[in-house]
């Protein structure tokens, strides 16, 4: 009965019917509760899967950039490598040094992992496949994802290790700076959509993605978003916080075993989130490629399920981010801040004004 | 300047300097610890000698005495000289540092101190450089014995 409603093109009926079935079978409260637990479990599994697959993909992609094969030993083409890694990490001893602040040290692992996990709830994966469609969705994502920096600062400070401390300080200065550019570049699109709700942002792109419709300012905003969000997630070439050739491993020097795994996982979930937000705001999320009123073309594109569109776009953005990471040298911390304050921020503010002119004059499509 | 001119010049400054007659690879000047630094300073700053590059500083243990050997060259004039300072006192060998003339001497002198026990006076930071701080003895001396670490084949 439930499966009847299943459609790969629109998940809302399917999810509604599960909900109705639960509520009908049990009492409304319990049914609702079971529904919540189901959703939570799904996200837990998704997060784990995401981490495992992204680590594998990154290792493979980076290997190909470097003329290597990457992991090949565990499973066919090394596919089970990350599973082997995680098993190893679980079995490893979790050390806490004597001088560290043990409460904060443990708390950091929670904070750093929870922020991206909560943000995942607001990501629309496909039509009707979104846990939490708030009317301030974009704002929610921006604000919650910046909680992660607290985790980094906590980790660096509580370790009582100079390398960790420097790493944490660096990443603190870096993340708060780049936060601005991320927000402003996303706001340029909000001017056009007039809404912060992600489902509406996606719906507004049903006749074309903003990157195409939004004229030049949208492209500039996208470039700034990509640079700034890479920096915000501490990825290369902005990985000063864990620059292994300078400060060994930065803020997570002292973490070992499963706690280290969470730092790692959080990094990759963050990586997914910035790509997903970029894809949603600039490339229409799960919305297939539509060109105005070209009905035939639009229908052809609709044939590809939204979930594939979404993950396809995310994958392309991720590929570019990996390409950056595995090509460029790392910036220095002061250069990084110079880049933000002297280049990205002024440009993004001017770009925002440009966009409002475009919106006023109706130069967009 | 050729070797003869340098020789003449050195003898004019310090008649005590001993310059062996047989022609080796370089011009050798053997001095006592007292005149090492004044001579080195002259060689370094005199316009005609201008030995501004100390390319090697080594210690030698001649059993009867210790010796520190300075290989000097001039980057613009191209001539070379070897200064040797003979230190008769094996118990408490002392010689002035040449750190102030050639900064590279700082590390090299520490090495000589570490391995031969020659103390360089006025050295800014005379500590052992290669061995641990609590190492006993000076391993490059010929009379050094260490049953634990030296294996005779």
């Amino acid at each position: 009965m439930i499966l009847l409603n299943f459609s790969i093109y629109d998940f809302s009926d399917f999810i509604n019917s599960i909900d109705t079935w639960l509520v009908e079978t049990f009492s409304p409260t319990i049914g609702h509760l079971i529904g919540l637990v189901l959703v939570g479990t799904c996200f837990l599994l998704f997060t784990a899967l995401l981490g495992l697959s992204l680590v594998y993909i990154e290792r493979k992609v980076c290997a190909f950039f470097q003329q290597r094969l990457g992991p090949m030993r565990v499973g066919p083409f090394g596919t089970a490598q990350t599973i082997a890694d995680i098993i190893k990490l679980i079995f490893k001893e979790s050390l806490i040094t004597k001088q560290s602040d043990k409460f904060l040290f443990n708390l950091a692992a929670f904070v750093i992992m929870m922020a991206p996990f909560i943000v995942l709830s607001a990501i629309p994966f496909a039509k009707g496949l979104q846990a939490l469609d708030m009317d301030i969705g974009l704002f929610f994502i921006i604000s919650v994802s910046s909680i992660g920096v607290t985790g980094i600062l906590l980790a660096g400070w509580s370790s009582n290790n100079k390398y960790s401390l420097i790493g944490a300080m660096r990443s603190g200065a870096q993340i708060v700076s780049y936060e601005l550019s991320v927000a402003i570049s996303l706001m340029t699109i909000v001017i056009l959509t007039g809404s912060l709700q992600l489902s509406e942002i996606i719906a507004s792109q049903s006749n074309g993605w903003w990157i195409f419709k939004g004229n030049i300012p949208a492209i500039i905003a996208f470039v700034i978003y990509i640079i700034a969000s890479t920096a915000e997630t501490n990825r290369g070439p902005f990985d000063m916080a864990e620059a292994e050739s300078e400060i060994t491993a930065g803020f997570h020097t002292e973490y070992s075993g499963i706690k280290f795994a969470y730092f790692f996982l959080a990094e990759y979930v963050n990586f997914f989130i910035i790509s997903a937000v970029g894809a949603t705001v600039f490339f229409g999320g799960w919305m297939p490629l539509h060109i105005g009123d070209a009905t035939f073309f639009n229908n052809a594109m609709d044939f590809i399920p939204p979930i594939i569109w979404f993950f396809g776009k995310v994958a392309v953005i991720m590929y570019f981010l990996m390409w950056f990471k595995w090509t460029f040298p790392r910036l220095r911390i002061d250069q990084l801040l110079t880049l933000e304050w002297k280049y990205l921020l002024p440009i993004s503010i001017v770009n925002l004004l440009l966009m409002s002119i475009v919106a006023l004059k109706g130069w967009h499509w | 300047m050729n070797n003869d001119q340098i020789k003449e010049k050195v003898l004019k400054w310090f008649p005590d300097a001993e310059i062996p007659a047989e022609a080796g690879q370089f011009l050798n000047v053997i001095v006592t610890p007292e005149i090492l630094h004044p001579l080195a300073e002259k060689l370094r700053y005199d316009k005609e000698t201008h030995f501004d590059y100390l390319f090697c500083l080594s210690g030698v243990d001649w059993v009867s005495n210790l010796m520190v050997v300075y290989h000097l060259t001039s980057t613009n004039l191209g001539h070379e000289i070897v200064l040797k300072v003979k230190i008769a006192d094996r118990e408490n060998p002392e010689v002035d540092t040449v750190c102030d003339l050639w900064k590279t001497a700082e590390f090299h002198e520490r090495e000589v101190y570490d391995l031969f026990g020659v103390k360089f006076k006025n050295h800014p930071d005379l500590r052992r450089i290669l061995l641990e701080d609590d190492w006993e003895g000076f391993p490059m001396r010929k009379d050094y014995t260490d049953e634990a670490n030296i294996v005779e084949l």
Partner: protein
Amino acid sequence: MSTEQTVLGNETQEYFINMGPQHPSTHGVLRLLLTLDGEIIRKVEPHMGYIHRSIEKMCEKDSYQQIVHLTDRMDYLSCHINNEAVCLTVEMGLQLEIPERVKVIRTIISELTRLASHQLWWGVMGMDLGAITGFLYGFRDRELITDIFEETCGARLTMNYNVPGGLMFDIHPNFQKRTKEFLAYFKKKLPEYEELLTGNVIFEERTKGIGYISKEDVISYGVTGPSGRGSGFACDIRKLHPYSAYDRVEFKEILYNEGDSYARYMVRMDEMKESMHIIDQLIDNIPEGDYKAKTKAVIKLPAGEYYQRVETARGELGVYIISDNKKSPYRVKFRSPGFSNLSALDTMAKGCKIADLVAMMSTLDLVIPDIDR
């Protein structure tokens, strides 16, 4: 108007941090004690000796043939040149006439060694600055050189191909073919290096004007090799005191006057081209003849002192042998380039940031066993 202001807690504390012995970018077990103010370096104090193996002491017990293989373990990236230095010193003492063929082969392999060393350095430089991909490209090309070495000398790293009087055995029949193949290949790959790092804006920002050292300081500290030539110190022993076949080849001594990390980087990049140019001139003109001059089974150097300077990939290596006419030398001293180069680090690094220190150390191209000996 004078108001007394008491600003509490406005002073930042200087603190110490140990960089090394177990640190990714010290390239070995070197320990730098940094005094920091925030991220600004106030003082760098190198502590070394973690892999001191007393090679000089061991030399006093070994025969002259046996000394050679110990020098492989000093600067392992220019092992052939180290071997050559010892052999040249012994040959000088014996006043041995070595065959032309030996000289040319030694020169070719020396230059290949220099190329291999610079390739590795380039890769490591990229890695230290965060461009890990460069590391693998550098190694990819270096592998081809080590293959050539392995085919001819029998080992990839510690080759021990020189013996006093000549070479251990003749070159492999494939040697010339392989070397020419490699040169043709690497001439295509070197521009890639330039595109990946040299022109890159981040790389330029990270190296230009960083780690400045003046020509006077360079001479005073005895910083030689590419690091010295980046400050305009003409210290190339191949030009000053030509040995082996360097007197008959045409090549430029690369000099840059900027004295910063970028200049030191550019010296090495240009040196790779010069090395290829030298090999180009020699590879087809290896004279026929013996691969070894006749020496006695037990070599005894006439009493006296012998000093030989050669140019390794890192700078000037001096071998100082004092002989008392026995089968082992009385005293051997290796004036290793890394030892002197390291001493200039403090002067370079003052006022820079930690990240700059890493870039600086890469451009000094330190090999720790070379420093500790």
